[in-house]
Amino acid sequence: MDPIAWLLGLGSLLMFGIVVVHLLTALVLIIPTWRICMRAGFSGALSLFHLVPLIGPFIVMAVLAFSDWPGGEASPGKR
């Protein structure tokens, strides 16, 4: 068997595995984040930023942390 073809096949399989693991991890994060976004009054689609590698979760958290929630927030005196 051609060693180049074998290496290419192995690399493709590795990449496929990485993508699948990334999608599964993102899905585990997207489901609860979707609900948090909805309860906060944002679109649930905001949680799809989890699909962006590395900085995606930070984008979702930044939006939730630094913007006013349309669905209402706990009053400052109650915090």
């Binding site: 309860r39 930070f58 958290m61 939730l64 669905g71």
Partner: protein, 208 residues
Amino acid sequence: MGVEILSLLGLSSVFGLIGLVLAGWMAWRIVEKTGLPGWAGLSAILLTLTGVGTIVPLILLWVFAFMRWPRDEMAGVALGTSSPARPASPSALPPPPAAVADRRAWRLSGSLSSGGTVTLTVDGSVPAYLLTGAAAAQANELSVPDPSVGQPHARLLSAAGRLGLEDLGTAGSTFIDGARLLPEHGPRDISAARAIRLGSVELALSRA
């Protein structure tokens, strides 16, 4: 070569530390907005540094998403849907003068997609009204005859001169002054709101 690898490792550690601090700070703010103590969010993020890795914070994220938030309970208290223990008034002080309650009825008026208009009056004689797109069949039903309005679509609550609104989860959404109201938000006080939207019908809120 060794120096490059070491500097690369150091760089990734710095980025990791910055990410951790940022995530902890944002988690603190997010958790605070729900009425829970902010340190709980920070602790969940810091758990990633421990041996339990990311599994426990992941479980906590799921719990946080589906648990009942104190913010929602506060909204219920504001509308009188629950009855928390109220502190007794000091007997040494005279009672404050009672304010005259505004007993005027509420009026919701707007235009339908068919070109007609709709005007609803909520006089408070019934504690809860159903807003429905169908014809009103009972005394506690208010009809908004539009195809975008669910059957029923939302619930209007009237208590102590205040007006509340609760979405019932039908396909056409409900909005209060442009902010979407979801069923899990529970009843919200709309006494100070200017307009509500049921499906595509915008209703201006005023006193009759």
